[in-house]
Symmetry: C2
Subunit: 282 residues, 2 copies
């Protein structure tokens, strides 16, 4: 029976949300305000694209679902922590997040800083205490720490903040995206695969290339969808390349993505195939 993407998304989002709900500390335990802020910032109807990719990658390569819960929750918590800190007044100064007041508006700045810190902590806590073997846990932590540190996600945010818009080149824009959002996308795909037994270096290499193209494709697709709203202050692929060239680049990336999926010998109805086609909707 072919996989139904809507059923797949509903089932997996439920699994992700219920495991996040379980892992997060209760709001009625001390320190209550901090715990309330952590829950508020995670259990807010996010799209869960990173953990979905992680499950899809793991399931496609034969990992047991129960080994995917911890890394999937960890990657989503790291994403949530980064959003809280990025929203702070000193950073992007965003008062809204997913249609609700951002953490520092709903609580206060000090609580938001600490909520980000403790969600980051919780990601490592969950992975460390997961049913994964110590070796697997260590391999995954190596990927997660690299993806989120100063040469990954946080480094991308730093680069974004310190690059004056008149110094921005297409290469620099790509490097910022590669780190700021791409690093966690790549980590999601790799963590899922690592939960499976006997993953080869060749497979990991194809997954890395697939994930790199996918992360960039997401970004360009978003920029194309936002093209109507572009202001001259917002610099992105469309404002840099023009709409048609951006669409061309997206088409090339989709081709690369399918090529890599082909090397991975993914069945056309594998979760990774189906989720990829769904997220890169035409």
């Amino acid at each position: 029976m072919p996989m139904n993407i809507n059923t797949y998304l509903a089932e997996h989002c439920q699994r992700i949300n219920s495991s996040l709900t379980k892992y997060l500390p209760e709001s009625n335990t001390t320190p209550q305000k901090l715990h309330a802020a952590m829950r508020y910032s995670v259990l807010n109807g996010g799209k869960r694209i990173r953990p979905l990719l992680l499950y899809a990658s793991g399931e496609t390569l034969g990992a047991k679902p129960e080994l995917l819960d911890a890394p999937a929750a960890a990657i989503e918590l790291i994403h949530c922590y980064s959003l809280i800190h990025d929203d702070l007044p000193a950073m992007d100064n965003d008062d809204w997040r997913r249609g609700k007041p951002s953490c520092h508006k709903a609580f206060d700045e000090a609580t938001a800083i600490l909520a980000g810190d403790t969600l980051y902590n919780l990601a490592f806590t969950i992975l460390t205490r997961s049913p994964l073997s110590a070796e697997k846990c260590r391999e995954m932590l190596t990927i997660l720490t690299e993806a989120s540190g100063s040469s990954g996600m946080a480094g991308g945010q730093a680069l974004d903040l310190t690059t004056p818009s008149d110094h921005l080149t297409i290469e620099l824009l790509e490097q910022i995206h590669h780190l700021k959002t791409g690093a966690l996308i790549r980590a999601s795909i790799k963590l899922g695969a690592l939960a499976a037994d006997n993953i080869t270096e060749t497979q990991l290499d194809h997954l890395e290339k697939f994930a790199t193209a996918l992360g960039l494709a997401f970004q360009i697709q978003d920029d194309i969808l936002d093209a109507d709203e572009i202001s001259e202050h917002k610099i992105n692929y469309v404002s840099f390349l023009g709409l048609e060239t951006a669409k061309d680049k997206l088409r090339q990336l989709k081709q690369q993505i399918n090529e890599q999926l082909g090397y991975l010998d993914c069945k056309t109805d594998s979760p990774l195939q189906i989720l990829t086609q769904y997220t890169l909707c035409d």
Copy 2:
């Protein structure tokens, strides 16, 4: 030959500082400003009391020094990250740290938030890639994550920020210290011991009690030394208990500390004994 505490401190501080220097990303690598802020906030002449305790505990229990370098650096980086975030305007709003402008004054708030985040990341990175076995690494990560998260150090800071001073009781004051500063002290002592082979549950239990008493003793000792400068706005052990009762409590704690060291069968010239006597100077 009896151990000379000055030589011991000099040698170990040098070892700690040179390993931190090596682990920290170079300031001339991208993102340069972030990397410069990380180095500025760590390589600033800190007393290194946590890694010193970690080495002393490990060496006393027979751990190989080369297995102590990674956890010692990790614990100091977590301490430094917490200082950067605690100093932020939204938190304790401290413009100075160890006689120099605090990170957000020397750089800017956004960079300080990210420098804290990435130093926290670096702590886990270093431990994950250390020469420790995967099992040992996992045990240590369990301790480090618990000590620094919302039920440890960060939770203590949250509790400190949200407790109005007229609601403060001696029990609450003790709970805040137990988490905010005590958790990392306890972790330092335990991580050192875990690097040794064949540590028993009984030994860990004595170390936990020793470290709990030591952390509290440090705090009360600081409060006694600061007694001259007490303002009515600063609530601590001396302002709560009065100077004499605080001194009594410190004496009791020293007795507990020595008792636990006795159970651990520490030689009187063991690093842990000597360092303890040195830090709890009369």
